[in-house]
Structure formats: C-alpha cells, structure tokens
Symmetry: C2
Subunit: 198 residues, 2 copies
C-alpha cells in the first residue's frame, strides 16, 4: 500500500472504536471522493484546538473568542439552577430536550479509581464556589446512571455539605419505548423505587 | 457548541457509516487528546491525494512516485496469473493470505445497474489487453460472492471470449469457524455443489 494511504489509515485507527478495517474503509472512501473532502476534514482538524477553549466558569467547551459560555452569560438562563454533567457533550444532549433553562457545570469526568481519576481532578471545588457566588438554589446531578456517576454524585453531595441548596438527580426508570420484559433488573428496581403517583 | 467543534463534527459525519453521535465521539476524543493527534490526522489527510495514484497497468493504488504497482514490477510475481478484484483494498485482503504469487487487476467497482455502473466504466478492456500483452495463463475472478460480483464475472468471461486462458473464480462454501446450522441456504447450496473429494 502507498505510504500516504498507510499513514492515513494509521491516523484514523487512533479514533475511539475504530479498528484497522474501519480505518481502511474511511481512508478508501476519502481516496475515491474529490480531494476537497479530505482537505475540508484536514482544515477542521487543524482549526480545532485553536478554535476552542474551556469556559472558566462552567468548563463547557466554547469558541476561543468567547469569555464565558453563552449558556451562562445568556440572561434568560437561570444561574440559580445548575445541571452538573460529566462531559461537555452531555450539555448537547440536555439542550436537545428543550426542557432546561438553567446553566451547566462540567466536571470534566467522573470519579473512577480504576482510571486513576480522583475527585480533586474534577471541577467540584469550582462548583461549590459557584453555589456560593451565584446563590444557587438547585443543583441537578445529571451524571451517568453508573457506579462512577453515583459515587461522584455522593462526593459532590458531601462537598456541598449543609449549604442551603436543593440537590436533585435525574430520575432512574424505564427508558421510553422499551418493553418492561426487556428492562434489566437494576433499572426495574430503580423504576419501582421511584414510582410516581398518578 | 463552538463553531470549530461543529465544523469538525460535520466533516467527520461525512465518513461512511458515521452518524452525528459517532462524529461527536470522535471529535470530542480529539479535543481531549493533545493537539498533535489532530494535527497528525490533518497532515495525513492533506498528503493523501498528492501521495497516491492509480497504477496504469493494474489500477491498484500506488505511491505517487512509483511508475507501476510493486506487485506488478516485482520479478517474483507471476504476470501470467492475474487475480481480478473490484477494489484496491481487496488486494490487501488477498495479500494477507500469503498464498498468492500472481499479479492483480483492479476493476474499480462492479457492474451495478442500480448504482449506474456499467461494464464500460470498469477496467475490463485493460484486463483483456493485459491477457494478450502478458500472455496470461490464468485469470482468477476474485470478485464478491454477490449478484454484482457474479454478473461482473460473467461479463468478463464473455469479453475474454475464446482466448486460450484458464478462467477460475474463488471457491464458494462454508466460511471457516462457522457452524453448518448457522450457514445460510445459498452458501450451503454452493458448498454442496462445490464439494471436494477427500
């Protein structure tokens, strides 16, 4: 194989979940398309790190020429309501619901001893600071429904301590469109525990 | 989302089989890694089209500074034995078997009326020319075991006509490691038809 192709296949193979076969398929697709397609992707990659930075307030990803996240500076967003998420992309998922008018706080990961991530590496200290500065009334712990998500939640609750702030978390239960018989036991247990009056 | 990120997600979403979620995952992975990773991929993309060309003899992808495919010019490869494949990457698959010492001929696709690909768009004429020029003794039709693969094979056989050349195709049968009970009917029928004496 020509080195130019091998190099591209190797570089594409670095992407998460992309094995050699998939990398080959991507590369060959770009070979067959007009060079402009490959160049467009190259330009987007080159401009990536210079075009983004982390918001110093919410730690969301923002354009390099912004001071803080538009979702924080927007006066229509309620700063007294903060959704705490693990990663910047979780914001995209929550925004798509069109049902949240508060602000976000990105932790930058979840507590995970196996991966060597301790709570001091996450933006938990800054969250507590925000609770005090912005007189936050409700913190929604919108972390994954996983062991890491739960233990990070627990740690944050401890750090918030006896501040006068309501701490909530996303409901656990049946995902919409899923048959009860296919739901796993833990999900079903949580759905039972969190059952709601009609 | 910052435009630099949106642009990258859009560009990645052009890759085959990559939806918005996967593109987001790839982009966010590159955000978290050091900028060198993104730049390495950008460089590989920029150098792609300038670094490759098609071999004028076999239509394999070769380095831009080569005249013909090394798999054709290598004196250890038998030019009288030609494996006909649909795409350049099929060569990689066959080379991995380490069991083929002939040369290749890439058609550049398969006859597919639905996709508007007629036989005149494939390098079939050049194959027939090679059969004459190189006094080819055997042509192995190594096309997919699909309708398009079969009909392309048939068309090539017609074009070869009554030239004195053995025309073979890859065996159809049970893939290794697959239980007989899970094999589909057509595969099993072909395996029966092509049964071999022990």
């Amino acid at each position: 194989m020509p080195p130019a192709l091998t190099k591209l296949i190797d570089a594409l193979g670095n992407l998460p979940g992309v094995g050699p076969r998939t990398a080959e398929r991507y590369a060959y697709y770009l070979v067959r398309r007009e060079p402009a397609k490959a160049e467009q992707l190259a330009a987007a990659l080159t401009g990536l790190h210079s075009g983004i930075k982390y918001c110093p307030k919410t730690f969301a990803l923002i354009a390099a020429d912004h001071d803080v996240s538009p979702l924080y500076s927007d006066p229509r967003r309620d700063r007294k309501l903060v959704a705490v998420v693990a990663e910047p992309l979780d914001i995209v998922a929550l925004e798509k619901t069109n049902g949240f008018h508060g602000t976000y706080h990105v932790l930058g990961g979840l507590v995970s001893p196996i991966d060597g991530v301790g709570p001091e590496q996450l933006h938990i200290h800054e969250l507590v600071q925000r609770i005090d500065d912005d007189e936050v009334e409700e913190v929604i712990l919108a972390t994954n429904a996983s062991v890491e998500g739960e233990s990070t939640s627990l740690y944050i609750q401890q750090q918030i301590g006896d501040r006068e702030v309501k701490v909530t978390r996303l409901a656990r239960g049946l995902p919409i469109g899923v048959d009860l018989e296919y739901a796993d036991q833990i999900t079903l247990s949580r759905a039972l525990e969190g059952r709601q009056a009609l």
